[in-house]
Amino acid sequence: MLTNTFIPEDVSPNPSWVILDTPDQWLRFSQPVGDDPKHALVQSSLLLDDLRCAACSGIVERGLTGLPGIVSARVSMSKKRAVVVWSPDLILPSNILSAIQKLGYSASPASHNENQLNATAKSRAAFWRWLVAGFCMMQVMMYASPSYFTKAGDIATDINHLLNWAAWLLSLPVMLFSSRSFFSNAWRDLKFRQISMDLPVALGIGITFIVSSAATFDPSGWWGHVVYFDSLTMFVFFLLSARLIEVKLHSKTLGAMEALVSRIPENTERQNLDGSYTRVLNSQLNVGDVVRVNIGEAFPADGKLILGQTKVDESLLTGESTPIHKNLHDSVVAGSYNLGQTVNIVLETIGESTQYGQIVNLINQAAIEKPRLSQLADRVARPFLFFIILSAVAAAVLLWDIDHGRALMTAAAVLIVTCPCALSLATPAAMLASASAFVKRGILIRHLQAIESIANIDTVIFDKTGTLTDNHIELKSIHVKEGCAELDSLALAAAIAQHSMHPVSRALVTAASQSELSNNVAFELVDIQELVGAGMSATIKVHAIHSGQLKLGSAQFCITGHETIPSADKRYQQVYLADDHGWIATFNLQEAVKNNAAQAIAQLNEAKLEVELLSGDQLHTVENTAKTIGIKQFQAACSPSDKLLRLQWLKQQGRKVLMVGDGLNDGPILASAHVSIAMGKGVPLTLAHADYVLLNGDVSQIPQLIRHAKKTMWIIKQNIAWAIVYNTVCIPLAFFGWLSPWQAGLGMAISSLIVVINALRLTQFSTVQFTDSSSKA
């Protein structure tokens, strides 16, 4: 088999992982398994990266099980995790990690902290609760079904009793186990003198169960002889289904963020007093320690370079993927990557007070934050809930003196018929259906209230870089000296530029590879040099027209004489090419605008939304971008505080603002806007602040998102209106005893089904309407 060739023959530990080889370290991501004390086994969970296809998991599994000491290895593609059972006598964690690396994947210990263990236990418990309710509901329905199809008296009384007892027995788990959270929440609300959906739900379930139980065991008593176990279990099952889906969606959103957190550096080489280095855990580092950071490693804490100079990748913090040059005594930040060479730094800030630590904290906070539903349901429903409870109490009080049994039955009928199922499902069902549609489209939503907020906005503010433009620049036009061909100059420029990683150089190389260059001009470049901040130079050999030193870069760097060159065009970033005879060509470059940006803006304008562009870039660049995509209102050279001021001014005008951004500087603005959207490739700090994250960074999804949120709110209003109309019709009927209890139960079931089915319309994005309106535009 092909995959067998991947099994590494000689697995030697990678130095940075050796620290994991002590039991107290491996127990942070592992747990002991097995009973035999002589051959103790350990089960570890590892976070895998670079899993590309389904076959990858097979490769890792086979590669690992081929090693001595590995008992079993299972890889989950969807969770990007591997669970490995191994024997500490034969193999060590560092060997396992190295083996995975040799297979072509990267692995890190999945921090097996309490939170995650609790999360698994909680999600299992929630699922089990739901399953019990669902299974018992089906069984109780079976016992109830004979009474649906027969006239009263058709079934023998004793068989009817038996069916009721059976139904009662199987309703017990639903009452005592599955619906426990409703009762505990209702009790908590009562203690805090609040009223929420849980109180009437708990009351409804409780009274229905008591009345039905009494009818089961004392059918001739004043409770009546009709049981409602079917309505009861179905009601609980519907409510639990909604809660389960909500929890699943929430954990899906968090899963996308977990990969960011797992990048935290685990250990570093610290310099000892005698000058040697020892690998220590990052948690053991102190301010003032000197550590050595190798190429490819992340800096463990904020600090200052004291030996060597290097390039670092700070994309985690700034979103800027271009490596940044760091000289001696420059500061480096925790979580950024060392790309240049091995350097020594002295630590200044450690742990949670570093910028990186704060990001991790924010993400963890997002994980702890409990999902909450819209305030709308509570706001609209609360007065109504009072009304329901009051009318039930009134019915009981009014009839109590006449007939105890009738009094309680009427109160129960009022509660059953209104049993606020439809009302309590109205909002969550619609919001969850909508959120699942978002997730399918690659839009993560952090909390469900954001659907309500985004439906109400009237102003959209864009931050230019990375939001409306792609994160690279492209060549727009070329001016050349008379007698030179544009393409030849481009070929020449690209030949120099390919030796540099500067964004401008990469744009030139890309442009050259895309245009059809004639390869008839032979030349050779030697002595290529890059001057940071100025440009590049090279000596040219064997060329028909140009000779001597060739320069590519800024005007000051390239142009020495007083020759005439085309005047600078402010709209573009310009790069010059020159040789010993002077100027050859000018390349005009511009940030590439995203494909769908203009279309998205047009749709937003059409939806009567004010669109603004606030950017930290220069006026002419911003003006140009705004014109290209059709934004009329823009402001250039904004500092983060300028943006914040503008936002606060808009808020004072009573505007509801949606902020779309992705840079680190946007963090505070995103947090203070009414709603915020971040691009998926943005900065983790920003992602943690944003209400929505567009994973694929496609701006054209924003108008669709707003449209869908509006539709969601419309459906929620329909649902609530329906529930209220239904209840206002049925309460009087129940109040005056005109509604037989089974009719009440049926009405309740149908009313909640209508609500759920209406909400399910939201699971698909309404694209038809969308294309109609865009073709008009």
């Binding site: 088999m1 389904a54 076959a55 998991s57 097979g58 599994e61 086979r62 099980t65 989950s76 593609m77 969807s78 969770k79 698994t120 299992r124 699922f127 089990w128 399953l131 019990v132 299974f135 018992c136 069984q139 079976m142 016992y143 023998a156 068989i159 038996l162 069916l163 059976a166 027995l169 199987l170 788990p173």
Partner: protein, 47 residues
Amino acid sequence: MDILFILIPLSVVMALVVLGGLWWAVYRGQFEDIEEEGRRIFEEDQE
């Protein structure tokens, strides 16, 4: 119809047995990762 006096209690017992089975499945982690196990069928057998 006397058979119902046995069948109805029996159905309750069976329901409880099934519930027990489901409990075992949930807490053995059968439902933790539904997609993965479905995909595994399409893989080549391990040696």
